[in-house]
Amino acid sequence: MSLVAPHPDPAEAATAPARIRFEHVSVDFPTARGPMRVLDDVSFDIRNGEFVSIIGPSGCGKTTLMNIVGGFVQPTQGRVLLDGKPVVGPGPDRGVIFQEYGVFPWLTVRQNIEFGLKLSASKVPAAQREETVTRYMRLMGLSDFASHFPKHLSGGMRQRLAIARAYAVRPQFLLMDEPFGALDAQTRSAMQDLLLEVLQSEGKTVLLITHSVEEAIYLSSRIVVVTARPARIRTIIDVPFGYPRAEAVHEDPRFGELRAHIRDLVMQEYAAQARQAVRMSD
């Protein structure tokens, strides 16, 4: 596998069956000045057990992309197939961590995590529920806050709560939209390691949106760099590290190279978007 390889050919990758398949997906949002294109002809596959990260400038359309897989937004053109069937709506097979968290304000920390486990669709047996909740509270450093309402939590704690809630139901797919954005560096890296452990033990297919190039490299098997709005696929990069993955890869020289390369790509996209210079002087 080459160090920095744009994804070769969609046809070639399709030999292993795709679990998530984007087929010429475009999205237009209606605005006062007519439809605005946000996603433009996006096609790529995510195979079983893959961890795909999306990187691109703010406002380009990443969340929209995830929302299509989640079943919350319908593409204007093209379609997204989930195990070969078009997405018709949200479902518990796809766990989603939203950029705005969406923790339930009327439930305590414990009840928030418990929510999915108490639904009829839950695959977690009732006997195990208590244990699962307690474990995730501990893992997220929320044990002391079990009976707090979200309004009494700090920003980072709310984000961790959203993560715990999504993990607890053990979905096959994880769709994560900047899930660690509000965390300090150390908590963040602990969360990253936890995610890797979860993947290892439960075997998930993950779509991660992140602004951190390091995070993308450290976690993913492939990284999709998208262009400024409308988001097109700029390039898809294979990450040359296997799983299980350890902190040590940060020191790998290929890590630095990859980071420089991706930063460069993103920088170009950012520059394209910001033709209107972000300078006060003019």
Binding site: F72, P105, W106, L119
Partner: protein, 270 residues
């Protein structure tokens, strides 16, 4: 987070606990005393014929007289009817409001019908109610139910419609069915709206009480007021009105005390 509103910031310097309590009681009583004063003033001013406005002490005397007689039973009957009417009305308003907010198709179908019926005056409906429900307790409860339901349903519908979609989305990704979304997301999230709906419905139901007791009520504050109206017993009318006001106030306070815990999760300014 603790919010500091202007009221807090203007809080007076700390004073001994007992004096503060006294001060608070005084503050609560103040508006009532003011009203009492205004009442006497109106009589004293001679602007309106004293025949039309009984003196507060006359009303009090009448109250004490009635209290020894029918009043307790009247209050009890009316309270019971209002309670039942509101309980039934709001219990139906919540799921109906949910359905209206949730199922777009149903909304187009039912919404106009609801808006048509909720404007119909309970008084004008009395003949119909008598025809269909007779003149017993059922009939009175139906009128109060009617008033409560339609007052509540619109508050519920608007409350539910304003729910932020993110919570529904999250619930869906966790696997919630429509019914679970209703029971575990919409209902808790609209508890504050339900309380508003109950409060509005309570007010409307009490205000409709007299109309409902136009249907052949022997007992009840509405009946008391009407009996008194027929004979121009102003003092009794005032006793009836004031009793309604205070029972309604008590129910409102009880409701809010009982449910304060239910909205503890909300980050609100008051």
């Amino acid at each position: 987070m603790t919010t500091v509103t202007s009221a807090d910031l203007a809080a007076p310097a700390p004073v001994p606990r007992a004096r503060r309590l006294l001060g608070r009681v005084g503050l609560v009583l103040a508006p009532w005393l003011l009203i009492l004063l205004a009442w006497y003033a109106v009589r004293a001013s001679g602007l309106v014929s004293p025949a039309l406005v009984p003196a507060p002490h006359a009303v009090l005397a009448k109250f004490l007289e009635l209290a020894r007689g029918r009043l307790a039973a009247d209050m009890w009957m009316s309270t019971q009817r209002v309670f039942l009417g509101v309980a039934l009305g709001v219990s139906l308003a919540v799921p109906v409001g949910f359905c209206l907010g949730w199922y777009r198709g149903l909304r187009g179908l039912i919404d106009p019908v609801i808006n048509f019926f909720r404007a119909l005056p309970p008084i004008a409906l009395i003949p119909l109610v008598i025809v269909y429900f007779g003149i017993g307790e059922t009939a009175k409860t139906v009128i109060l139910f009617y008033a409560s339901f339609f007052a509540g349903v619109i508050v519920m519908y608007e409350g539910i419609a304003q729910i932020s979609p993110i919570f529904i989305k999250v619930a869906r990704t966790l696997g919630a069915t429509d019914l679970e979304i209703f029971g575990k997301v919409i209902v808790p999230l609209t508890i504050p709206h339900i309380l508003t709906a109950v409060r509005v419905a309570l007010g409307v139901a009490w205000a409709t009480l007299v109309a409902s007791e136009l249907i052949a009520a022997q007992q009840g504050l509405g009946a008391l007021i009407q009996d008194a109206s027929a004979f121009f017993q102003l003092d009794t009318i005032y006793v009836g009105i004031i009793c309604i006001g205070f029972i309604a106030l008590a129910m409102d306070l009880a409701l809010r005390a009982a449910t304060r815990r239910l909205v503890a999760w909300q980050d609100r300014i008051a």
